[in-house]
């Protein structure tokens, strides 16, 4: 009686069953409960290729599950049926050529079943021809630059930075639902239209990954990789950098806004007009107030994370009362344009336009208690860059 109870207990404690049921019940309960913002499987996304990749993923997954049930079933059957107390006389067989051949050939056939669709999908993924628009994506430490290539005129260019405030990351404020997956300026794509991405990097390796678009491509300095997508549904799709790129690797998200064609055209026209306006601004003579107002915005987007809201410093040096910001304009501008090699201070010369460079330099010299009273005009920045 007691022995039987013991055996039952042992069986009940069959670790694997316990573990698997615990895990699966836990996982599925959680899935059902929070299905709206919680997923545990690959997304099929909003592209045809994404659906095919998902189907492929599920095909291989189910083959693994079936093989797993057979193999593990046999394994645990052996462990339980052939325990010494039940089976004290072990068999002595130790080879069987036919069996060996069978379990070499069968997996091989299963592999072919997987390889055929995989090859088809791969060929499709590599077909980057006939795109309606090309976007050059450049990875920077730690932001993305997007350049819409316009063969008949100026390109539309902008940077896309993390928008989640430091206070949320530091747990001082409640986190929004798009925590770490929100940017100041998203990429905009037209729906049902093939977009080709040309992916590269400015400094270290990055990788541009948006699961719903089924695109992941490494961004490599000196190389231009190609990828493409054709989303079939409008919406906002979020992703992240997928290749370790330094301190803020976890803080350079991607947001893609897929819109109707007309809306896209409007957006692009607006961006082109902005670029034209900027050209005019280049020649304009700004007042101190205008520069400081514009500079404040530029500062908040680009400098604040490291130098602090009041120029008190942090990762970067303090700007308030710093010898640099209260020294010569040329020296100050030099650091902003060219950065400080070997430190986290990046070269902003290629990231900001002349108007913004002039504004932010002026702002830093006339804020946080710095009262230099001097200012820089866009044309001064232009000359400085030219003179290098």
């Amino acid at each position: 009686m007691q022995q039987q109870a013991k055996r039952l207990l042992k069986l009940a404690l069959n670790p694997v069953l316990v573990l698997l049921s615990l895990m699966s019940s836990g996982v599925w309960a959680a899935t059902a409960e929070k299905a709206e913002h919680w997923r545990g499987n690959m997304t099929p996304g909003v592209t045809e290729v994404g659906h095919k990749i998902y189907d492929l993923h599920m095909l291989v997954f189910w083959i693994c599950v079936v093989v797993g049930i057979i193999v593990f079933g046999l394994m645990f059957y052996s462990v339980f049926a052939y325990r010494k107390e039940r089976h004290s006389e072990p068999a002595t067989f130790h080879e069987n050529t036919k069996l060996e051949i069978a379990w070499t050939v069968v997996p091989f056939l299963l592999l072919i079943i997987m390889a055929v669709p995989a090859t088809k999908v791969l060929i499709e993924v590599y077909d980057t021809d006939d795109a309606a628009q090309d976007i050059l994506i450049t990875g920077y430490q730690w932001k993305w630059k997007y350049e819409y290539i316009n063969p008949n005129g100026d390109n539309v260019t902008f940077f896309s930075n993390l928008r989640t405030p430091e206070s949320e990351i530091g747990n001082e404020e409640e986190k929004g639902s798009n925590y770490l997956l929100e940017v100041d300026e998203p990429v905009v794509l037209p729906v049902n239209s093939k977009t080709r991405f040309l992916v590269t990097a400015n400094d270290v390796l990055h990788a541009w990954w948006v699961p719903e678009l089924a695109v992941k491509r490494d961004a490599i300095p000196g190389f231009v990789n190609e990828a493409w997508t054709k989303p079939t549904e409008t919406g906002v799709y979020r992703g992240q950098c997928a290749e370790l790129c330094g301190r803020n690797h976890g803080f350079m998200p991607i947001v893609v806004n897929v819109v109707e064609q007309e809306e896209y055209d409007q957006w692009l026209a607006g961006k082109l007009a902005e670029a034209a306006e900027l050209k005019e601004l280049m020649a304009k003579e700004f007042t101190m107030d205008e520069l400081v107002a514009r500079g404040k915005k530029v500062y908040e987007r680009n400098c604040l994370a490291c130098h602090g809201a009041n120029g008190e410093g942090g990762v970067g040096k303090a700007i308030a009362g710093s010898p640099l910001a209260t020294g010569s304009t040329k020296g100050h501008l030099d650091v902003i344009v060219n950065g400080v090699p070997g430190t986290a201070m990046q070269a902003f010369g290629g990231q900001l336009n002349e108007v913004d460079l002039a504004a932010v330099t002026t702002y830093q010299r006339n804020a946080f208690g710095n009262n230099m009273g001097d200012m820089l005009q866009p044309v001064d920045v232009y000359k400085f860059k030219k003179g290098q």
């Binding site: 895990m23 291989v60 052939y82 089976h87 130790h94 390889a115 270290v204 699961p211 330094g246 976890g250």
Partner: protein
């Protein structure tokens, strides 16, 4: 004739005895296992909840990097070399390793090497922070100054590994007891022979990679800098030409260990010995032609991508054959479940789970979604932790009575096993889901949609981590208070030569070679 070891510290410093050196390797690797594990605890503590709580992202990157480096090069590899030192001479009936003085040196290079590597944590700029895969240019142009120490230590551990491997090859080829033909060698010896060849082939490639880095950093070359006409992708090709065989260097001796343990506790000879040997050799061969499956997203040409996909999928065939052989060995056996057997069965089970996710990762188009996500992290921990470290735990419990002459505490061993098993799965199983849901690896902070998975993972990691202290306690207690085993054979089903010498194995064994029939 019989003489014991010298006394005191000089015994260990100057020893040329394979058992002493094996012991030192094992203790060293255990220390590194705890060090690398404590780095992992910091990682999991930070990832317990969204938001930055404990460490700065820059330090987080140092932790992921050092965790990988210490575990791969400091814990797993030296542990298997330690087993090789202890067991290969005993299993082939040799009196010692073929090159005992070199053996001493291969070990004693390691402690200073890891001291140098770990000391970089206290340098200005911090320890290496570019991932254990140290992709250029993050590890060259953008690296902290400690990268030079890192390069030096990689060179030193490479020298240690190469010397150790040459020694193992020389021992196996020359010192087998009369009558022990190659096809009579225990599988652990076979897997180590093949592993040693892999090491000799690829460690110099790793040395080449870090030397090119050194040149780029200090001597103005541009191997990996596009600005100077170099190629950052070249780094990845060179690294993974080393790196892929490296994962088999870690896993093949683990296959050897379970191939010893499963027949003993099934009381039935290993099924398909010959095919096990051939499967190991085919895996080793294939490991040289699949490296770019780590690089599916770097922009390989289509033909290259297809080649690497097919070649990678092929690895499933010999690996599956091994799993089938292990299971068929248990089939109709007479099984008892002592701690070594529990760990060995769990290793086969969980490694196969890692094999399945490996097969999924091999499918190139699907890899565009898996790549560099937590799915990959889950996959390689199933192969490295369950595949290698479970096998190492099995090996320690299996041979500890032979090493010490004393029996470990079985109840404590089983407790260690179950806590490890549950902790391990709780840590790494949810990471599959986190990865599929879109969480990239190597990030210190994440969106709330990944929060549940990460919390489970962290709790599991703390459980798994603390269970290793029980392991340590059990080993120490066995040495100090263990019950003497009073038998050469220890395990009922044991058949190999190490079970014909007394327990504990005397300082010198097989001074006259045994006759193998």
């Amino acid at each position: 004739m019989a003489h014991g070891p010298a006394k005191g510290f000089s015994r260990w410093l100057f020893t040329t005895n394979h058992k002493d050196i094996g012991t030192m390797y094992l203790w060293f690797s255990f220390a590194m296992f705890l060090l690398g594990g404590s780095f992992a605890m910091i990682i999991r503590a930070e990832l317990f909840q969204p938001g930055l709580q404990i460490v700065d992202p820059a330090f987080f990157n140092q932790m992921t990097t050092m965790h990988g480096l210490v575990m791969v090069f400091g814990a797993i590899m030296p542990a298997f070399v330690g087993l090789a030192n202890w067991m290969i001479p005993l299993m082939i009936g040799a009196p010692d390793m073929a090159l005992p003085r070199m053996n001493n040196w291969s070990f004693w290079i390691l402690p200073p090497t890891f001291l140098i590597l770990a000391s970089s944590l206290f340098m200005e700029g911090g320890a290496p922070n570019f991932g254990w895969t140290f992709y250029a240019p993050l590890s060259t142009t953008y690296a902290p100054p400690s990268v030079t120490l890192f390069i030096f230590s990689v060179h030193a551990m490479g020298i240690s590994s190469i010397m150790g491997s040459i020694n193992i090859i020389a021992t196996i080829v020359n010192m087998r007891a009369p009558g022990m033909t190659y096809m009579k060698m225990p599988l652990f010896v076979w897997t180590w022979l093949i592993t040693a060849f892999l090491l000799v082939a690829v460690m110099p490639v790793l040395a080449g990679a870090v030397t090119m880095m050194l040149m780029d950093i200090h001597f103005g070359t541009s191997f990996f800098s596009a600005a100077g006409g170099g190629d950052p992708v070249l780094f990845q090709h060179v690294f993974w030409f080393f790196g892929h065989p490296e994962v088999y260097i870690i896993i093949l001796p683990a296959f050897g260990v379970v191939s010893e343990i499963i027949p003993v506790f099934s009381r039935k000879p290993l099924f398909g010995y010959d095919s096990m040997v051939y499967a190991t050799a085919s895996i080793a061969f294939l490991s040289f032609i699949v490296w770019a499956h780590h690089m599916y997203t770097v922009g390989l040409p289509l033909a290259g991508e297809l080649f690497y996909m097919y070649a990678t999928m092929l690895i499933a065939v010999p690996t599956a054959a091994k799993v089938f052989n292990w299971i068929t060995t248990m089939f109709k056996g007479s099984i008892t479940l002592e701690t070594p057997m529990l760990f060995a069965i769990a290793k086969v089970f969980l490694f196969t789970v890692g094999g399945f996710s490996g097969l999924m990762l091999a499918i190139a188009p699907a890899d565009f979604q898996y790549h560099d996500s937590y799915f990959v992290v889950a996959h390689f921990h199933y192969t490295m932790v369950a595949g290698a470290i479970f096998a190492l735990s099995a090996a320690v419990y299996y041979w500890l009575p032979k090493w010490t002459g004393k029996m470990y505490n079985e109840a404590m061993g089983k407790t260690h096993f179950w806590i490890s098993f549950i902790g391990f799965n709780l840590t790494f199983f949810p990471q599959h889901f986190a990865g599929l849901a879109g969480m990239p690896r190597r990030i210190p902070d994440y969106n709330m949609m990944f929060a549940d998975f990460n919390m489970m993972s962290s709790i599991g990691a703390f459980i798994y981590g603390s269970s290793q202290l029980l392991f340590l306690f059990n080993i120490v207690r066995t040495i100090t208070h263990g019950k003497p085993v009073n038998s050469d054979k220890v395990w009922e089903g044991a058949t190999t030569l190490e079970w014909t010498v007394p327990s504990p194995a005397p300082y010198h064994t097989f001074t006259t070679p045994p006759e193998v029939k």
